[in-house]
Every structure is written in C-alpha cells, then in structure tokens.
C-alpha cells in the first residue's frame, strides 16, 4: 500500500492532477452547483461544461507551445496569430454575399488556417534556418502580427452574422461543445503523431541536445520548423474559435496575453522550459487548471478589480504545491514527526491550496 501510494505520488502528473482536483473541490464546497450538469435540448449545461468550452483556445495554443518548448524554443506570437486568423476568417465572411452558407465558412476557415501556417513557417524559418533566438524571432511577429490583423480589418472590429461560423465556437455535437471537441481532436492528433511515430523522441532529443542530435543524423532543422508550423496552425484554429465566440474580429484584443497563459499551462503540466521531455497530458491538465481558476474567479464572485491579484495568488499556490523544494521540506517536516502517517502530507497540502 505504502509502495503504491509512493508510486502514485511520484508520477509526474500527480501534482498537476492534485492541483486541479483541489481547485474543483474548492469550487464545489463553496458552491455545490459548480458540479451540476443539466441536459437540455441535447446540450449539456453547467460550470464544468463552460470550463471545457472556454478552455478550447488555450488548449490549442498550449498544445503547440508544448511542442515548441520541447525543442528548446518558445512561441510568443500565438496571440498575434489568433488575431490574424480571426481577422482573415471574418473579413472573408464579411465580404461574401452569402455569409450564412457553409461553403463560405469553410473557405474562410481554410484561408485563416493557411495564413496561420505561413506565419508558423516564418517563425520556423527565423529560428531554424537563420538561427535567431526563439524569444526574439517570435517577438517580431508578436509585435507585428496585430498590425497585420489591423491592416486586414482596415482598423475596424469586423463583425459578421454567420450561424455556421458561430456554431464552431458555441455549437454542440453529442451533448458536448464543438470548440471543446475540436481541442480534444487536436490533442489526440498531436499525441498520436508525436508518440506513434518517432517524432516525439526526435523532438526531445533535439530539445535536450541539439548538437548531439545533429551529429547523430537527426534532421533537427525540419523538426524545429515543424514545431513552429504546428504552433502556428493550432493558434490559427484557436483564432477561429475566439472570433466565433463573439462573431467579431478584434485585432487589438483577440488572444491578448494568451501566450503567457499557454506558457503557464505548459509549465504547470510539468514540461520544463529548458526543453526536452514534454508531456501532452500534463499540458491538458495545466490548461484545465488555468481555465478552472479563471472561472473560479467568476464563480466565487471575486470583484474584477481584485481578480488579477487573486489569480496570481492562486498560481503561486499551485506552483508551490508542485515544487520539489516544497516536497522535500514537507518530507523533512514529516520525518521529524514520526507519528504522522505517509498519506498525511499531500492531503494537508491539498487543503491549503
């Protein structure tokens, strides 16, 4: 039993999951209706369903960010790509005579994804071919991207009235939000591609030791390029969803700061910013932590003026909960009091979170 507990607590996803469970528990205790899910007209409603739907853009972005971080990189431009992608999609729909037609929406979506892919290629080119430091290389597009989006929308917030497009962000399929299903599909595709092929291992090898990988014959340039392309495309899909939420393309505010939340989610999920080993499951948990925290703020009725401080405070707690230094301290504390049982410490820590 002891051994089982120690095996579980040593699993790399234990602390992220513990933090998520603790967060949900706090909500449920404060407001039992948090856990309540109702089904109406073939659609599920409830706070947890909202978390799922709201998590979709961040999930997509963080997924790409995970792969980029695994190569020792970082992609700061994802927020800007969201803005560009939304601008492209809505401008096409806005300019069409048949905004409500499915083909129009398909063309708009395809164009938005294509543009995002090109932006990903640009980032990948700067990093892998020109060898510019990732933080600088992607900063270029982070700053310029919103300008491009403004050019596309002509400086206005483009709004459209297109039901098929809106459905992407707010619709339901088999009781679940479409946006959430898109994000989950992306998670599944990326996981399969990374783990069923050798891409995951080669990505980690490049991230851990680029020179050794090159000498071993790994096509590291292609792998790094692919990571930024994936990140661009996933951010583009996120941009389509973000624009669909409000049926508006806001070049200045769509996806604002999402790169930072994505980095936070990746790190909470246990992937190191130093590159190398990555965990997609960890990132999924990390995204759910961040989104749940966001809705906790709304749910507990924290005043808007105080919510950033509340958020920061909660993040510090979650990070502390996962920190090896704190675990060591807790173990020391435990061994100095031999009477306490093994399972004691994690429980205590959870409550305090």
């Amino acid at each position: 039993m002891r051994e089982f507990v120690s095996r579980v607590t040593r699993h790399r996803l234990f602390w992220p999951v513990a933090a998520l469970v603790a967060l949900i528990a706090i909500n449920a205790i404060a407001q039992p209706r948090f856990l309540k899910i109702t089904i109406r007209d073939g659609q599920m409603y409830g706070a947890l369903i909202d978390v799922m739907r709201n998590s979709a853009p961040l999930m997509l972005v963080a997924l790409g960010m995970t792969i980029v971080i695994a190569t020792r990189g970082i992609d700061l431009s994802v927020g800007a790509i969201i803005a560009v992608s939304g601008a492209v999609a809505l401008t096409i729909i806005d300019g069409s005579d048949t905004p409500d037609a499915v083909p129009t929406v398909l063309i708009a979506v395809a164009a938005a994804i294509l543009v995002s892919l090109i932006l990903g290629v640009w980032n990948g080119f700067l990093v892998s071919t020109l060898g510019i430091q990732p933080i600088i290389a992607t900063l270029v597009l982070m700053l310029a991207g919103r300008g491009i989006a403004l050019l596309i929308t002509d400086g206005f917030i483009t709004t459209v009235n297109s039901d098929p497009y809106k459905w992407i962000a707010t619709g339901y399929v088999v009781f679940l939000p479409v946006a959430f299903l898109i994000a989950m599909a992306a998670v599944a595709v990326v996981s399969l591609v990374e783990r069923r092929t050798a891409l995951g291992m080669l990505t980690e090898a490049v991230g851990i030791n680029p020179e050794a990988s090159r000498l071993a014959g790994v096509r590291s340039r292609g792998i790094v390029m692919g990571a930024y392309i994936a990140s661009g495309v996933l951010a583009g899909i996120a941009g389509i969803i973000v624009a669909g939420n409000t049926s508006a393309a806001d070049a200045n505010n769509a996806g604002l700061f999402i790169e930072l939340y994505a980095i936070l989610a990746v790190v909470l999920g246990g992937t190191s910013l130093m590159g190398g080993k990555f965990s997609i499951a960890g990132t999924v948990i990390g995204v759910l932590i961040v989104t749940t925290l966001d809705s906790t703020i709304v749910f507990l009725g924290v005043a808007p003026a105080r919510s950033p401080v509340f958020f920061a405070f909660a993040v510090i707690l979650v990070v502390l909960l996962q920190s090896p230094a704190v675990h060591r301290f807790a173990r020391k504390f435990k061994t100095s009091k031999p009477s306490s049982v093994d399972e004691d410490t994690p429980t205590k820590a959870e409550v305090s979170a």
Binding site: R196, A198, A205, I208, N209, A212, S213, A216, K277
Partner: protein, 511 residues
C-alpha cells in the same frame, strides 16, 4: 619524498562505511592524508572514489567509521562544516561564477569591508596577492569566463587558499586541460605541497598520477585495496590492482591488431586535400577495409578538426572525399551516415549523449534518425537491437530504461558505441572514446574495436593515450599545428619514437 609515514596525518578516515539503498558504496575503508603530500586516490568508476571524497567534504553522511581532521574527530553535516575544517575541493567542472570577475571569485564571501561596504580596491589587491602567491599573473578585474578552464581552475585553487585550506581535493582537474596547462597546474600543486598543504588528487591519467603523486591509495568495489608509496607501485601493478584482473586483455588486443591489411583494394574512405581555412591544412587520408588508422597529435593539433571534415560535421573548403571509389559530398552528418560512416565525438556530454533520454532511446537515436521520424522502429525490433548491443558492449547496469545522463562516463561511451554499431557502419570514427573513463571500460572498448576491425569494420581511432593508438592501429597518421606531418607503421614504432615524432621540430617523414 617529502611525505613519510612518521608525519602525523591531517586527515584520518577510519573504517568508513556508506550504505546507499541496495549498494554498499564504501565498506570499512581507511584513508590517511598527510601534510605536504600529493596523494592519488585511484580506482575504477564505481570503486568508491567519489563517495569517499563526498564523505570527506560533507556531502554524504557516513554510516560507520570516524573522520579525524587536524586531530579532532569531526562529523560533517554539510559541506560548510568541511570547509570550516580547512577542506576545499576543486572539481573537474569549475564551480565558480563565470560572470563575475576573477577577483570577485577569489574573494567571494571574504571581501574586505570599508565604511561604505565592500572595499573593492582592497579586495582586488588581496585577490592579486593570493594569485601571485601561486605564481599566477592575472587581471583580477577581467571576467572569469574570458579565461581558459585551466586558468579558472587556478582561480578556484586561489579561492581555496583564501579559505585557508589545509586540505585541497583536486577531483579530475586535468581532464579538459592541454599539456602546457597541466604543467602550470602541477607547478602550483608543487608549490602548495611545499607549504604543507595536503593534496588529494584524483585523475584517470596514469602518467599524471606518476608525475605528481607521492602516494597512492587504491579502491576497488567500495573496498580498500591498499596504500602504497609511488615508488613501490609500478603502473602495471597499479592497473592490475584497480581492475582486479591481469592485463591479458590488452595483450589480446595487441595480438588482434597485429595483422596485415590488404591495401591493394579500393579504400573504404579516401580523402584528398581536405581542408578548412584556419582549422586544418590540406590532409590526405586513406582507410582500408578492416583497418584501424590511429590519429595522433597533441590536443589542438587538428585531429578532431580533420575527422569532423571527413564526417561532414563541418564543411571542408577544399579537397575531395571518396567512399569506396565514388566521390561523396559530406556537407552534413547525414551524408556521412548515408555512406555508412559513423562518428563518436570527443565531447561525450555536449555532442554525444542525450542526457535526459533513456539508454534505450540513446541507442535507437542513430537508426531512427536515418529512418526518418515517420517510420518508428517496431517495439520488437527495438528490444532486439537494444539487448543485442547492450550485451555486446557490456553496458552496466543492464537497464535500458535508465536515464543515460545518470550513467558513468565509461558506460555512456558504450551506449554511444552501441548507437553507432546499431547503424551497421562500414567506417567508424572514434574521437577520444576512452577519455575520462575507467581502466576496465577502456579495455572493454579497445577490445571491442579490435574485434570489430578484425571482422572487417574500418576505424579511425583518436586518443591522447598513445599506447592505445599503437596497440590498436595498424597505421598512425600524425598531426601537428593543424597539419598532417606524416604517417607511421604502428607495428614498427614504439611509444618513444611516436612521442618524438609528434614533438619533433621541423618536418620529417618516416616509414
């Protein structure tokens, strides 16, 4: 000899026992260190050298035995305790602050203070004095990182002297130094010895041990083998004591290498006039099937640079490379790999092993990179390859799930060899494959190279240990000052001739 048995030891470690989960790392080991001696601690990796040092520096607590320093029994709970007792350590990887100045590093934590805080002028003066005491002239305001590793190590020693160390532990200090830098370090060590500092020296380089040490303590498998004055322990005997078996293996290697190579055939690799400006001057090299070509020369003579051109790790600016008679473009390592050429870099940590990946992944990386990412090697095939090569090379522990970075240097080298052998190369370039690894693993790797070449694999073998080159190779190409200066027949050359050839001024061709 300055140290004799009558001198009262400054460090007495008696009956030291350290138990790790599942391993008895040290079993009742005695160790004595006397003032004014250089005492070499010898043993294979895993023999317990590092554990003993860590017991003495307070990193590990002992499970049994006692440590007496300067006549007082001590219990070291942390490294600061050991420092207070006058024990300082200089590691292989310099643990100073690279982005601070030399003076700041020397005086860190002991800066003289004036009214307005630290008196930097005095601090630098003080630092300069400590450096001068060791015969080092340095601008104390220069950044530490602008100096070579050798100088940084001397700075680390100066820092130890600021801490008033009576015992100085040098843990593999010479592994990244060239000959001249080693001399400089040894001059400092001799000065310190003369002032009565007790020096504990750990190194894999036997020549250096015999050059500097007064006494040797040998450990094997966590047990004390014995303590010997250097004069009473010839090299062969030392090696035998360290690995616990006679040196039949090395003789076996020599016998295997002693065979005729058919040089009438088309060479596996023929490089003509390959060069790169400022790196290597035009060099010609042929390697025939089943041949081991040794590449000898001092560090920085262009050995590594030349083979990097052959492998495509760097691009050559002139010359041609032919693989089995056909012209080959070597602009990228992948081109070489396609021609079944493998290259194991001298820098195992930076250019070889992927530290955070498992042993299995490290071995598979070579074949997987060649197959491309889309075609993942099937699990059954993976297991077959991994177990075949781990066994063939004797990787220990025999655990493919172990993180490669946690293995000893010798086993990492075996893993790298496994990675390359799994790609079924026709020519393998081994750059310092035996550097910094223990005697047993060195013998294992040499034996493997001899066996493989006997079976038809061509090898370019680089080593600073010239005995190894002569033992394994049929031909030795000698480099000096980035130029190929000649070629020797390994069978008819002895060590002294080779050393003389490498060091000789002016040009001379032989054999």
């Amino acid at each position: 000899m300055s140290a004799d048995n009558e001198v009262q030891p400054i460090v007495e470690m008696r009956g030291i026992t350290i138990q790790f989960p599942g391993v008895l790392a040290l079993d009742n080991v005695d160790f004595f260190l006397r003032p004014g001696e250089v005492h070499a601690l010898m043993g294979e990796n895993g023999a317990g050298k590092s554990t003993l040092i860590k017991a003495l520096t307070g990193v590990y607590a002992v499970n049994g035995g006692e440590i007496v320093v300067s006549g007082e029994p001590r219990v070291f709970g942390k490294t600061a305790d050991a420092q207070h007792a006058g024990i300082s350590t200089v590691y292989q990887e310099v643990n100073l602050c690279a982005n601070l100045s030399v003076g700041e590093n020397v005086m860190l934590g002991h800066e003289p203070r004036g009214i307005t805080g630290i008196d930097w002028k005095a601090a630098h003066r003080e630092a300069a004095r400590h450096l001068t005491n060791l015969g080092i002239e340095l601008d104390t305001r220069s950044l530490l990182s602008t100096h070579s590793i050798a100088v940084q190590q001397l700075v680390a020693i100066s820092r130890a002297m600021v801490l008033d160390a009576k015992v100085l532990i040098l843990d593999e200090p010479t592994s990244s130094l060239d000959r001249g830098e080693v001399e400089q370090l040894f001059a400092v060590v001799r000065d310190l010895k003369a002032t009565g500092v007790a020096i504990l020296f750990v190194s894999h380089f036997l020549e250096q041990v015999y050059e500097i040490a007064d006494r040797i303590t040998v450990l094997r498998n966590g047990k004390l083998v014995g303590e010997y004055p250097i004069a009473e322990l010839p090299r062969e005997l030392l090696v035998t004591k360290m690995i616990g078996r006679a040196l039949d293996d090395l003789e076996k290697i020599s016998r295997k290498a002693d065979r005729e190579i058919d040089r009438e055939k088309v060479p596996v690799l023929r490089a003509t006039g390959v060069s790169r400006r400022g790196v290597v001057e035009p060099a010609d090299i042929d390697v025939f099937e089943g041949e081991v070509v040794g590449l000898a020369g001092l560090l920085g003579s262009g050995r590594t640079e030349l083979v990097r051109l052959l492998y495509g790790a760097d691009k050559s600016e002139t010359g041609t490379i032919e693989v089995k008679g056909a012209l080959a473009r070597m602009a990228h390592p992948r081109h070489a790999i396609e021609h079944r050429i493998a290259f194991s870099s001298e820098d195992r940590r930076e250019e070889g092993i992927i530290a955070d990946l498992t042993v299995a992944e490290n071995i598979l990386l070579g074949i997987q990179a060649r197959q491309g990412w889309r075609k993942k090697i099937r699990k059954s095939e993976q297991d077959a390859v991994i177990s075949e090569y781990m066994q063939a090379l004797g990787v220990k522990p025999n655990d493919p799930t172990m993180i490669a970075g946690n293995m000893s240097g010798g086993n990492q080298q075996k893993v790298l060899l496994a990675r390359w052998l799994a790609t079924a190369p026709e020519l393998i370039i081994l750059d310092e494959p035996t550097r910094g690894i223990d005697v047993g693993a060195k013998a294992d790797i040499q034996l493997k190279v001899a066996e493989l070449s006997e079976a038809g694999l061509s090898v370019i073998f680089i080593s600073s240990e010239l005995e190894e080159v002569l033992r394994l190779a049929q031909r030795v190409v000698v480099m000096r000052d980035r130029r190929q200066i000649g070629e020797l027949d390994a069978h008819n050359t002895d060590l002294d001739e080779l050393i003389e050839f490498i060091a000789a001024k002016g040009d001379r061709s032989a054999a």
